[in-house]
């Protein structure tokens, strides 16, 4: 499997670690609702088809990325930095 890291380019899966379902809604840090936290920690939709998931490029830039991947065909449709919404700095704003 190969993943296109926004910083480092197309890389082998060996360089990455799977980081879990990115479809879940994480409660705010100061949220005290036990059901919302329970939902976030334990419940998964496990779709057959399009899935969004976290990976970390542990042997590369150590960035957490969000990968849209089809769980049936394994085709990867998009990859972006998890922190991308806030801008990544000079030269990589697009990522």
């Amino acid at each position: 499997m190969r993943i296109e890291c926004p910083c480092c380019g197309l890389r082998d899966h060996r360089e990455f670690d799977y980081g879990g379902d990115a479809l879940r809604q994480r409660p705010a840090h100061n949220d005290t609702d036990i059901d919302r936290w329970s939902d976030y920690v334990f419940m998964r939709r496990n779709p057959s088809g399009l899935h969004r998931e976290f990976w970390q490029h542990i042997y590369g830039c150590r960035q957490w990325i969000v990968v849209s991947r089809d769980t049936v065909s394994h085709q990867i449709l998009s990859v972006c930095l998890a922190s991308g919404a806030h801008g990544a700095g000079q030269g990589l704003e697009r990522a």
């Binding site: 499997m1 190969r2 036990i34 920690v41 150590r62 960035q63 957490w64 394994h74 922190s83 919404a85």
Partner: protein, 1002 residues
């Protein structure tokens, strides 16, 4: 009994002038350089080569390549023994030794052939039905014998002496298959400038063209393509190399057989190389495999595929029979008939179609072939080899042979039922084959997977010209897709036209039934697994109607040849049973490897101690020089204990632990995970991550911290020191370091990207020693240093920076052992020097070298939680640390830690255990149970750690016990279910030593 030699002079591409001697079943024979073992055996007149898997039927050579189902042999002896090798894929070398397998006492007389007589009881799925009675235990009795009888060759149990390596490869265009389509694809892609890798599983390039007579147009064309490819700087040719698997996103597994064609020398060699190849575009020019037609007796030695017979003649110069019958339903077998007749055989061609192709037929008859159209072979007969066939009129409508038929003597029967494109690599990840009615086979279909294209006969092209042109088109297209321009004069490419297309269409014939329409006896579909048409009918009758069930119930297609000559026929027969079309029946899933791969090639160098890399501390050499024994903790190598002469590990660690509490000891703790945390929001970050508070920690002070997982379980612990207002030095457990680091990065990059905090791993930057014991202060103060180690200057949990023996150090006053202690950190390059300085000063203070065994014992006495209690199933409260949790701020895991099940009072809680009998030995992992009851199930908890405690004078344990804190003062049974012992023990506080912590604060 072997025939006289069938090698013809003046034919083929082998080196007639170079004899090669080999042994088969102990008999010395001679072949030629360029032979396979199969062609050499045929040349020596050997027809009987093997015995079949289940029924031990006599078998001969059936095919010419990787599709061979019968001719499996065991090569070599000793550590290089290789069972289940297809004789058709082994290239002859001087001294090769091969023997038949699965036969006893000999190939000629195999006692197990009695199975054939009892085949009624050994049909498909017999192990679910026969031998199931009279009692339930009967199967286990029979199973013993059946298991012994099963299997083919025997593997060696000796270590593989040779080397294997694994390499990562990259290219623009990978062309799989070096036949006419593959060669032209590679040449044209290379001309366009793409980086090309051409992979061919046999030693020679040319593919199906090598089945043609040598020395002609085809050979000249091949030579020209090969010369171009060898010259080109942007081309790599990998021959003797198979692409065994196609994986996601253009990744492929290849195995290159570097030295399997030479006699194995005494010393170890690099035998095979596994490539993980990434190609931007892949062209499958993998050809097509011929399939047979099924009828009674079709597995006898002397029955082979028509293309194989042709190839043995034209490439290997072996005439496999003198009285030949060719049975076909398509045009291609006419070439076999013509060539063999020209070589001197008496050939009869039997064509199931009512009308023969006129040009091919005329050419064949001119060569002396007798052509019988509208006929079929109804039956083959013989005992250890074919002696005759029954030829009858064929009714195409019903697929039946009309009575009475005529018996004809023969010594070779060649079969051609059609051709199946070899597209496993395309279909290995979910692609569905498409059935082409005209070709009566599975083809790629209109849309194929991104990054792939198919060329040549794999794409349903059956004339050489079509294959070459298809390859050219795909080669250029692939190069363009990679961004290269078409080369100048790309149309001007010397295509090879041999006018060898098919004139007439193939007639689908899968099976020849008798005149009543019934299947015949001993009509085999999967030869290697001895699966016959009656097995398929049985499976269908018993309800195994899907293709997947059929495969598994009958084991059809599950042998090492993966059913290459059987699968499509089986689906056609299944369709007939079900009254459906072939596409409606479906297909089983293709899986790698396409051909067998040695496990050694998949492992490469990563075996034994090399399975993963070891990590070493900066003081490794010092430990070795000072007599330490080492132990693996995860991937770190650590000093375990320092035995004095005559000491075993127990004596050593008990001495080290005991003496430390009297004087001073030093242990290497460099493996601790260390994380550099910096930023204006660092305190806020630590507050969120740890259960306790950090904003009020003064600069120059350290604090013990515990982190929870999001589900409320304890995740990790460590000591974090505030170096300056915005700079913290965090330590975490050795084992948890990687997971903690990733998790902190996750939080900062995904949820809390507004926090200005940076975390950097510093584990390797710092060497660290833990020095502890009553004489620690004296020892450290005696080393040349600008740090004041007094209690006033450096109180408990304080930190100081300075130098010791000229080395830059950071000293943190913390202890794991419960004694007065300091952790001293220095940049890793100075670690050894620091250790030496401490050791040098230590002689005056009775310094102990401490290994982690003793260190562990000391922590058990002290009752600190460690990895054996931080299991991912324990909460803060379970570990007796509930007081640490702050209520003024939110931290990770806080909410789910409130779940009812995590707050109940009968949870397993952290306690100490002391045996009632001081001589009893508590064992780690023992189950804890009620004192008066017989132990049952998982009991009340278990022992997480144990040690002999010099302080207490007996073994002690730490454990997790249901309602443990309330049970302190009572007793429990410590139950060892392996050794069957029960030891009564007092439940105590886990803090056996200095529970008030006075020593550490001295």
């Amino acid at each position: 009994m072997a025939d006289a030699s069938t090698r013809l002079g003046g034919y083929g591409r082998i080196d007639h002038g170079k004899p090669v001697s080999f042994t088969f079943n102990g008999r010395k024979m001679t072949g030629r350089a360029g032979d396979t073992l199969a062609s050499a055996l045929l040349a020596n007149g050997i027809r009987l080569v093997a015995r079949s898997f289940k029924y031990h039927r006599p078998r001969g050579i059936y095919a010419m390549g990787v599709d061979e189902p019968n001719a499996l042999v065991t090569l070599n002896t000793g550590a290089r023994t290789e069972p289940n090798t297809q004789a058709t894929t082994v290239y002859l070398y001087e001294g090769l030794s091969a023997r038949s397998q699965n036969c006893w006492p000999s190939l000629g007389f195999d006692a197990m052939s009695i199975n054939d007589k009892f085949s009624r009881f050994l049909a498909a799925g017999f192990y679910y039905k026969t031998f199931m009675g009279p009692t339930r235990k009967s199967w286990m009795f029979y199973e013993h014998f059946i298991r012994k009888a099963a299997g083919m060759g025997e593997a060696t149990t000796l270590d593989d002496p040779d080397f294997y390596e694994k390499v990562h490869g990259f290219c623009d265009v990978m062309v799989v298959g070096g036949g006419p389509a593959g060669l032209s694809a590679a040449v044209n892609a290379a001309r366009a400038g793409a980086c090309v890798v051409l992979v061919e599983q046999s030693p020679d390039l040319g593919g199906g063209l090598l089945n043609m007579p040598a020395g002609g147009k085809a050979d000249r064309w091949i030579a020209k393509q090969v010369a171009f490819l060898r010259e080109a700087q942007n081309v790599r040719i990998l021959n003797r190399c198979s692409v065994f698997g196609s994986y996601d996103h253009g990744s492929f597994g290849l195995v290159e057989r570097l030295q399997d064609h030479v006699f194995p020398p005494q010393k170890a060699v690099l035998r095979q190389r596994m490539w993980t190849m990434r190609a931007r575009r892949t062209i499958l020019a993998t050809g097509a495999l011929e399939r047979p037609i099924v009828f009674g007796g079709n597995d006898l030695p002397g029955v082979m595929l028509a293309s194989a017979a042709r190839g043995y003649l034209n490439h290997f110069s072996v005439l496999a029979g003198r009285k030949v019958v060719v049975f076909t339903n398509n045009d291609s077998a006419y070439l076999t008939a013509s060539d063999m007749a020209q070589a001197g055989a008496a050939v009869t061609l039997v064509d199931a179609r009512p009308i023969s192709p006129s040009v091919a037929c005329a050419r064949a008859e001119k060569s002396g072939v007798t052509v019988r159209s509208g006929h079929a072979v109804a039956q083959a007969s013989g005992r250890k080899r074919i002696t005759s066939v029954k030829i009858a009129q064929f009714d195409c409508e019903n697929g039946t042979a009309r009575d009475p038929g005529k018996v004809m003597q023969c010594d070779l029967l060649c079969l051609s039922g059609g051709w199946n494109p070899t597209l496993h690599l395309l279909w290995q990840h979910g692609g569905k084959p498409v059935f082409d009615d005209a070709l009566a086979t599975f083809v790629p279909g209109a849309t194929i997977e991104d990054g792939f294209s198919v060329a040549g006969s794999a794409n349903g092209r059956y004339s050489t010209l079509d294959c070459v042109l298809d390859g050219q088109a795909k080669g250029l297209e692939a190069a363009q897709a990679c961004g290269f321009d078409l080369p100048d004069g790309s149309d001007d490419y010397p295509a090879l036209d041999l006018t060898d297309g098919w004139e007439t269409q193939l007639l689908p014939v899968w099976e020849v039934c008798d005149s009543a329409g019934k299947s015949q006896k001993k009509a085999f579909v999967d030869l290697q697994h001895d699966v016959s048409v009656s097995d398929l009918a049985l499976a269908h009758r018993e309800g195994y109607v899907s293709a997947e069930h059929l495969k598994r119930y009958t084991t059809l297609g599950m042998a090492s040849d993966q059913g290459k000559t059987a699968n499509v026929i089986a689906l056609a027969l299944l369709a007939k049973h079900r009254g459906q079309t072939i596409p409606e029946v479906g297909f089983t899933t293709f899986r790698p490897p396409f051909t067998p791969v040695a496990v050694g090639a998949l492992a490469g160098h990563e075996t034994g101690p090399n399975i993963e890399p070891r990590r070493h501390t900066p003081m490794r050499q010092w430990h070795l020089d000072n007599g330490a024994k080492f132990i693996e903790t995860g991937i770190w190598d650590r000093a375990w204990y320092y035995p004095k002469p005559g000491e075993d590990i127990e004596a050593a660690y008990i001495r080290e632990a005991r003496e430390l509490r009297k004087s001073v000891g030093v242990v290497d703790v460099s493996t601790l995970g260390k994380i550099d945390v910096q930023g204006p929001d660092a305190a806020e970050f630590l507050n969120r991550v740890y259960v306790n508070g950090w904003s009020k920690l003064p600069v120059g002070k350290a604090r013990y911290g515990v982190m929870l997982r999001e589900d409320g379980m304890v995740f990790d612990d460590g000591t974090t020191t505030r170096l300056s207002e915005h700079h913290y030095f965090m330590t975490v457990t050795t084992a948890g370091a990687g997971a903690v680091m990733s998790y902190l990065e996750f939080l900062l990059q995904t949820c809390w990207s507004d926090l200005k905090v940076e975390v950097t791993s510093a584990t390797d930057q710092w060497a660290a020693v833990a020095v502890s014991g009553p004489k620690t202060r004296d020892l450290l103060s005696s080393i040349d240093s600008d740090i004041d180690f007094s209690n006033e200057a450096l109180p408990f949990m304080g930190a100081a920076e300075g130098t010791m023996a000229g080395l830059p150090v950071r000293a943190i006053r913390i202890t794991f052992t419960g004694e007065l202690g300091y952790e001293i950190y220095t940049p890793a390059g100075f670690g050894e020097a620091l250790q030496e300085a401490i050791a040098a000063a230590g002689s005056a203070h009775d310094l102990l070298m401490l290994g982690i065994e003793a260190f562990g014992a000391l922590r058990v006495e002290k009752g600190h939680v460690a990895g054996s209690e931080i299991t991912g199933r324990t909460t803060l409260d379970d570990l007796g640390l509930a007081r640490m949790g702050s209520t003024n701020k939110h931290h990770i895991g806080q909410v789910l830690a409130r779940r009812e099940a995590l707050t109940s009072s009968d949870r397993q809680q952290f306690v100490g255990l002391r045996p009632v009998d001081p001589k009893a030995v508590i064992k780690g992992g023992s189950i804890l149970s009620e004192p008066d009851e017989t132990p049952k199930g998982h009991g009340l908890g278990y022992v997480t750690a144990m040690a002999f405690s010099p302080v207490v004078g007996s073994t002690i344990g730490l454990g997790l016990l249901s309602g443990g804190r309330a049970r302190i003062g009572s007793t429990v049974n410590v139950v060892d279910t392996v050794d069957d012992t029960i030891i009564p023990a007092h439940v105590t506080t886990p803090h056996f030593y200095d529970p008030e912590g006075e020593k550490a604060r001295a």
